[in-house]
């Protein structure tokens, strides 16, 4: 059927329900949050309408700068690890049989939908003294006695890579599966080894995809709120953890809201960068 411009009011009817739901339960809550971020905090967990910048001024502390710096650094490291593991993996995956691809995708989706609580619990068990991998090393004689590997920074990083890797692969998949196979064939015909073909032909062709994926995984990692809490020490807390902490345990909604608004701005900046990278890619073709 041809697409037509809506002519009568009745033509707009299907839009009514989605529009109302999204406006009332997404746009208004978002607006409420921004408004609260300018409110004045009262003792005892209440806040009153006002228009103050106090909540934003608290960003200027050394503590906050430290948390922000750590959050960004952690997200960057997660993104780099995931892309480094994910690109060769996804590339080889797209060259496998349809059946194998489906099996891997089912496994990846299952891990991806796991709750952060569950991932945190699973890794804290795996890295614990009583049930962890160090017991395995003791059993085969590589270690004297079992030790606890969490909490700590390596534990946080590992679990976050675990959480983000399936996401990375799913983001890379469409671009890699559509990659022209004649590109590598040409390189192979001219005598390049598969490894050399991968590094000199595939990677350069994917430059913008990789950049866009890095940014998307970065945003994804920025949203992790439980893993740093379960597997790290307080100095490993990220902005997301701090927001939850302020909102729920310190009952300081205005400050939590101000941090959330700040996090939105960082994320939007990153999304703009992604779109910009995408446009450059289209211009290049």
């Amino acid at each position: 059927m041809r697409r037509e411009k809506p002519a009568t009011l009745a033509d707009y009817a299907p839009l009514a329900f989605p529009a109302i739901m999204l406006s009332v339960f997404f746009v208004i809550p978002f607006g409420t949050m921004i408004a609260v971020s300018f409110f004045q905090r009262q003792q005892g967990g209440f806040y009153t309408p006002a228009f103050v910048f106090d909540n934003y001024e608290r960003f200027l502390s050394l503590f906050f700068a430290h948390v922000l710096g750590f959050s960004l650094m952690l997200a960057v490291m997660v993104a780099v690890c995931c892309v480094a593991i994910g690109v060769p993996f996804t590339y080889m995956l797209t060259r496998m049989s349809r059946r194998a691809q489906i099996a891997w995708m089912v496994a990846l989706l299952s891990v991806l939908s796991l709750s952060e609580v569950i991932i945190g619990f699973a890794w804290s068990t795996l890295l614990s003294r009583t049930a962890g991998i160090t017991n395995l090393l003791v059993a085969i004689g590589l270690m004297e006695k079992a030790v606890a590997l969490s909490p700590g920074f390596p534990a946080v990083l590992t679990a976050m890579v675990y959480q983000a890797l399936p996401y990375t692969i799913l983001v890379l998949y469409p671009a890699l599966v559509r990659l022209d196979p004649t590109l590598t064939e040409a390189a192979r015909t001219l005598g390049a080894s598969p490894l050399k073909a991968f590094f000199t032909v595939v990677l350069p062709a994917l430059r913008t995809t990789i950049l866009a994926t890095l940014i998307m995984v970065f945003i994804f990692a920025l949203g992790s709120y439980l893993l740093p809490q379960i597997l790290g020490r307080p100095q490993h807390w990220t902005l997301s953890v701090l927001i939850t902490d302020q909102a729920i345990y310190q009952s300081n909604m205005p400050f939590a809201a101000a941090m959330a608004v700040f996090l939105v701005l960082v994320t939007l900046g990153m999304v703009t960068l992604t779109l910009f990278a995408g446009r450059k890619r289209e211009a290049a073709i």
Partner: protein
Amino acid sequence: MNAFLRRFYFVLVGLFLSAPLIVVAGVSVNEKQTLAFPPQGFSLSWYADIFTDAGWRDALLASLVLAILSAALAVSIALPLAWFLWRRIAPWANIFQLLGIAPFTLPPVITALGLLTFWATTGFYGQPWTAVISHAIFFVTLPLVTLSLGFSAIDRSLVEAAATMGADDRTIFRTVVLPLITPYLVSGYAFAFVLSLNEYIVAYMTVGFTMETLPIKIFNALRYGYTPTMASVTVLFVMLAAVIYSLIARYGDLLKLLGANSEEKA
């Protein structure tokens, strides 16, 4: 040599992805209340616990009801929107597409906090139904994306033929469009269902103090006393997700849903 390297790499990634789950599965069959691995003794009583212990059973029920309802609501928001965008030329309506994708793209804590301030301001904070609406909004992105994909795959000449023969919008939707997009509808629902079942922060911020979903219950158990039931619930969830995604793959084209061109690649 290269085939060997490739296999080695896949085994390594596979091990990384499965190791925590293997340990958890081992812990879940311990005979006594300990998180030992390798398990001491063998018992499936921790699986029975999910259904016999009142606390875990209530949490499981709460999670299931929440996931069933919120996924249904998410689909009922996404379907008319995706249909409208496919049927009509209305560029400004794309703003709603953007609004549908935003909650899932932003860090989850932001959506959660927005909804928390909203429910607190309107005075409904803590009501169980607020969690249904919150999850529906948070996960509306998934059916919206699968349905948009489904609509874009419809051959417009089919619909055109029906229109020429005098069918109106309603008839066309029921007899032509709906059968074609059903696989996308079902997979959109399934994605939203599985993710809602596993979601923690939005549920915690909206109804965390009045009811316990399974992820909330696991988190509380993490802080106030470990039990192997947490492990058995985890295994149950992983298997549930794997079964649902396998069904999507069995009855639909999973790879196409994930962005591959079509099924001509053998």
